[in-house]
Amino acid sequence: MSSISFSISRLSVLHLHDVQIDIHQGECIGLSGPSGSGKSLLLRALADLQEHTGEICLQQKKQVDFKPCDWRKQVALLPADSQWWGDTVAEHFRSVDESGLQQLGFEKDVMSWQVSRLSSGEKQRLAFLRLLENQPQVLLLDEPTANLDAANSGVVEQMIRHYLESHKACAVYVSHDLEQLSRIADRQFKIVSGQLESA
């Protein structure tokens, strides 16, 4: 097994207690659990958007030793609902990743589109591409294909796997779809009454 890239020990946040996982390079962790069990909360704590106790390390360096913005560039959270503040798509990107756009089924001119014109599925795919701009080491993905059809879900899953391999990154993948998790995740966990358990 390759080296440990992301480690979480004794993490507690609100009603979640004592979360403990070591995630290896290239590994994808699947996370499931009923609504309100704290999946999104856990991802927010990992991205340091939620106050928590315990220790989180990226390549042996503690979360508190990173500047908050640098941590979030490396440990990138894709929320279930993406947010857009500018009028056009281009205002949310630093550069145009043509091959990424193509893989996700977009033409280059999507950059000039009005955000208000985007469907929820288009937003979700573009938000995923936007997240990869920082080249994060850890992807925290909250139902990244919830608004996508089967074909587009497959494309996004493939892109995630490819990204993890090519960038020696790792991912925590939250989904209700256990079939999808068994397809994409190397190990699976579920949250049961405030505790993280192997699934």
Binding site: E51, D70, R72, A76, P79, W85, L131, N134
Partner: protein, 263 residues
């Protein structure tokens, strides 16, 4: 020429307010009680302030000027808080608003008294109190507007702010657009009144000085001075309050924390 007003003169004007209240009552506009109460408050408050000022002018003592200005500052600080849609937690809100008011209004007034107008002594109440009053009044409005806009917009757009944090922006960048918009909201009234002064409206102080018999050109010079002081005082006050509040909205790990600031 200066025409002194008698109690009878004021009563004639008060009859107009009473007529308006009567009209409002007949038309069921529901305005009469508030209008009458406000008219009563303005009469009592201004008569009192007239007596206090008369006494303070006679004393011309530094201590009394300090005491009065402190009262003015405190009341203005509470007034800012009471104009906020989302209530800030007790002493933080009061501290930030009053602190910013103090820094901007007092500094600008002090500068005007010691360097520009130079009355003797520099704290002469006839100059210090009206000057500070005008600065406080305008700065208070600017700060209240800017602060309300910042907190309100940040609350509505908290998901956007967090999204920007997720993409690796600093707290400063993530709230930058909202801070700029709030700065505009705080400064627009004074910028507009500078732009319209003399053409659309004759400012209150100018009118007052002219009614009191001052030469129009002298009155105009004072009005220009006041406009500059008020706009810069408001600007510094708004900048300071926005900076303090947008810092206070985040914790040291740059997480958005409304629970620290709001009730």
């Amino acid at each position: 020429m200066f025409v002194s007003l008698t109690g009878f003169d004021l009563s004639l004007a008060a009859v107009l307010v009473l007529l308006l209240a009567l009209l409002s009552w007949r038309m069921q506009l529901g305005l009469a009680p508030r209008l009458l109460l406000a008219a009563l408050r303005t009469t009592v408050q201004l008569l009192l302030v007239g007596l206090v000022l008369k006494w303070v002018f006679e004393q011309a003592s530094f201590l009394w000027v300090m005491l009065i200005t402190t009262v003015m500052l405190t009341v203005a600080g509470w007034e800012i808080l009471s104009r906020q849609k989302r209530k800030l937690k007790g002493w933080w809100g009061f501290g930030i608003s009053t602190g910013s008011l103090f820094i901007s209004s007092f500094t600008v007034t002090l500068l005007a008294l010691t360097v520009i107008i130079q009355p003797d002594p520099w704290y002469h109440p006839q100059y210090a109190i009206p000057l500070l009053g005008m600065l406080l009044g305008n700065t208070m409005t600017g700060i209240a507007l800017g602060m309300d806009r910042l907190v309100q917009t940040a609350w509505q757009q908290r998901a956007v702010i967090e999204q920007r944090l997720m993409l690796g922006q600093t707290a400063h960048e993530a709230i930058g657009d909202i801070r700029r918009e709030s700065m505009r909201a705080g400064m627009i009234p004074i910028i507009n009144s500078m732009a319209a002064a003399g053409i659309v409206s004759l400012p209150g102080m100018l009118t007052g000085q002219i009614l009191a018999g001052a030469a129009p050109v002298e009155a105009v010079k004072y009005q220009i001075l006041i406009m500059f002081l008020v706009s810069s005082g408001t600007g510094f006050g708004v900048v300071s309050v926005l900076w303090l509040i947008s810092k206070r909205l985040f914790d040291q790990r740059e997480r958005l924390r409304f629970d620290l600031l709001l009730k």
